[in-house]
Structures are given as C-alpha cells and as structure tokens.
C-alpha cells in the first residue's frame, strides 16, 4: 500500500470511529480530537493472529475493514467465541487489567484494516479529559451489554433460532466466514448448519 493510500484509509477509518462514538455517546466532535490523535492504522493479511494466546494485550482495536475471529483452545479443541466485523471493537479480554496471560486468540478471517490505541495512552487521556472518560465508560457498558446479549442468545435458543439470531446480529458476515467456523461458534455440526441454511435460504427466496 502506498503512503498516500494509507493516510487516506486512516482518515476514513477515524471518521467512521468518530461518527460511531458521536452517535453512541452523544459527545461533540471536537472533544474527540485528542482521542483520535492517539489511534494509529495497522493492517494484516488473512489468518494473522492480531492478539496471540498467552500475552497481555497492550492495544485496543477498532475494525475498519475485515472480520476477526475470536477463539480459544479447550482440551485441545478449538472453540470460537465470537466474530467481530467492521465497526466492532476488541481488546484482549481485559488482560491489561487482570495481568493474566490471555486465553483467547484474535485472528483475521480476511485481510483486516484496524485502528489501534495503547491502553496506557487511553488511560492517561481519560485522567485528563472528562469527555473521553465519559466515552470510555459508555462504550464499556455497551460492550458488556453486547456480550450478555450474545451469550443469552447462545444458551437459550434452538439450533435454528441460533442461526437466525446469528444472521440478525452479524448480517452479511455469514457469507464471509467459513461454514465450519460458524458451526463451531453456534455449537452444532457443519451438517446441521448446512441443513438449516438451505432451509433458511429457500424460505427467503420464496418470500422474495
């Protein structure tokens, strides 16, 4: 990527993040300037571990382009916890607070373009600027709510309902993630998922 293209992407990515924060938190655009200055653009190829297992994460990420798969190993079996897409945030499950090495791996499903900020810089800015502390507090709450909602839909629904919920929550991501990964995430076999999918597609075609 050329330097020029990079700086253009960075501007666009920051604009997207800025607008998201303005909508979610109700903060004024100018108040976000010092926060935006701390973010930097990074990009990774497909299947790259952005956060590896066993480390304490230093950065918090915002996804501008691409999809991230969050997973861990339990008894040598891979378990996918969730996916994050454009507009999503992730940050190593708070290993920077617990100081315990992380158990999760954050890996790109396709080429990703991200904005990242150092936790220590964010923390320092929060101390100086009330507006940023406010942004952080509200985003944290939203983050938690999203987690609870996902967990709930996971535990209480039938296979079919889970897939529908997945489509609702993740939208067109469903077509960008390998089928076996989605099946793993939803806790069903790829065969069951295929069956549910074809039924779902059929009923949607009929509706159209």
């Amino acid at each position: 990527m050329t330097k020029h293209a990079d700086s253009l992407q960075e501007t666009q990515a920051k604009e997207l993040l800025r607008n998201m924060l303005i909508t979610t938190v109700g903060v004024e655009s100018a108040q976000l300037d010092p926060l935006m200055d701390l973010f930097e653009l990074v990009s990774y190829k497909k299947n790259h571990a952005v956060i590896e297992e066993g480390i304490i994460a230093d950065y918090f990420y915002f996804i501008f382009k691409g999809v991230i798969r969050v997973y861990y190993y339990k008894n040598d079996k891979m378990v996918i916890e969730r996916f994050e897409k454009e507009g999503g945030l992730f940050g190593g499950n708070f290993t920077h607070l617990t100081k315990k090495p992380g158990t999760h791996i954050y890996e790109s499903v396709e080429e990703v373009v991200l904005l990242r900020i150092k936790y220590s810089n964010l923390e320092e800015l929060c101390k100086r600027e009330h507006a940023i502390e406010r942004v952080y507090r509200i985003m944290m709450e939203a983050f938690h709510s999203g987690y609870v909602e996902r967990l709930f839909s996971f535990k209480s629904l039938s296979s079919e309902e889970r897939y529908h919920e997945f489509i609702l929550q993740y939208g067109e991501i469903a077509n960008r993630v390998p089928l076996k990964d989605i099946a793993n995430y939803l806790g069903m076999t790829p065969e069951t998922l295929s069956r549910i999918r074809s039924k779902y597609d059929k009923s949607h075609q009929t509706k159209k």
Partner: protein, 207 residues
C-alpha cells in the same frame, strides 16, 4: 467487613460500599460521600424476585448481605447465569442500556440486604463529576471481567474442573448455595456433583 450474622444498617452498608470503591480506584472522600448519598438500604426475604423477567431496570444494587441468584427460563427450564454475593454490584445493565425488557430474573436465595441507587441519579453524578465517572468506568470494567470469568470460563470444561473453578471463584460461599443450584449453574446433574464433592472431601481427609 461486617460479619454475616449481623444485620447490616444503612451506615454499615455504606461503609462497606465505600471500602469496595476505594479498593477499585483513587477517589476523594468528598466524592465518595456524593456516591453514597445516592444509595438507600433495601431488604428482601429469602426467595424474593428482586428484578423480574421482562422488567426494564431502573436501579443498580450493591449486595451487603446474602446471595442473589441470577437466572432465566428457556424452554420451561431454569438456567442459572451466576450468583452474586456480598460486595458485588448487580443490575441489569443490558436492559437499562438497551431500554429493552431484561430476560434475567434476580432472586434472593438467603435474606438479602442491598444498597440501591437509581441509574438516572448516578448518570447525573457521572456527567458532572469527572472523578466519579472514572470510578464508575473502573467498577464496570471489574464487573465485566468477573462476569466473563464466571460465565465464560466454564464452557467446555469437564464436570470436576468446572466445580474446582467454581470453588475458586466463589470461595467459602459455595456451601451457602443449595446443591441443586450449583449443579444447574455448572450444567451437570445433582448426582454427578454429589460424586465430585464426595471424592473431594475424601481427598481432604487423607491429606
């Protein structure tokens, strides 16, 4: 911490809350007082639904005595999310933020004393006070970490490991929760749990 046999007063409960907040963040005594002023003492008998299914919560709670069970219904079955003991903040943050009816039920499994504050009142405090907002963010982070550890880490583990992890998280208060609740929470049968417990007690005696 006040002993559990004593019934907490508003004063002892607020002292307890202040102590927990000081443990999480650096904050002036003046601001601690402002936070405490937003809270009031409430008491519930055993087996009371404090937050009902489908309710949009307007309060955040801090447990000063007793245990609250947090669960929901699915296909006619009761599924337990977690247990909140003394020193824990609870409140259906999800329902409050989304302004959607919550799916969880919050029910006392012992006589419970709690401090509660209206979300709106706290929001106003946060808005006008940087240090208090910062304290709130740190409390939410801690709550989130705890939640993730409790709910998530149990997924996919064998039954006995689940129980050990449960003991580690909850400490001695394991013995205050009815066996069938613990089994339900861990997603195993009461019989399996009894077996695991018996094995463990045997080991303890030998050691």
């Amino acid at each position: 911490m006040a002993t559990r046999t004593q019934k907490p007063t508003a004063k002892s409960s607020k002292d307890y809350l202040a102590e927990v907040i000081r443990g999480i963040t650096d904050i002036s005594e003046e601001n601690i007082k402002k936070i405490l002023d937003a809270f009031e003492l409430v008491e519930y008998d055993k087996n009371t639904q404090i937050i009902k299914e489908g309710e949009i919560t307007s309060y955040v709670y801090f447990v000063t005595k007793g245990i609250v069970k947090i669960y929901y219904h699915s296909s006619g079955k009761e599924l337990i999310d977690w247990f909140a003991e003394e020193g824990t903040f609870i409140g259906n943050l999800y329902s409050h933020i989304m302004q959607k009816p919550g799916f969880d039920i919050y029910e006392s499994i012992e006589d419970v004393s709690m401090l509660r504050a209206k979300y709106d009142k706290l929001e106003t405090l946060f808005k006008h006070n940087h240090e208090i907002e910062s304290a709130a963010r740190k409390v939410i982070e801690q709550y989130y970490v705890k939640y993730v550890e409790r709910v998530h880490h149990l997924k996919g583990l064998p039954a006995d490991e689940k129980y050990h992890l449960f003991q580690k998280h909850y400490g001695d208060f394991v013995h205050r929760i009815p066996l069938k609740y613990v089994a339900d929470y861990l997603g195993i049968t009461s019989e399996t749990l009894s077996r695991i417990r018996a094995k463990e007690n045997k080991k303890k005696r030998i050691n």
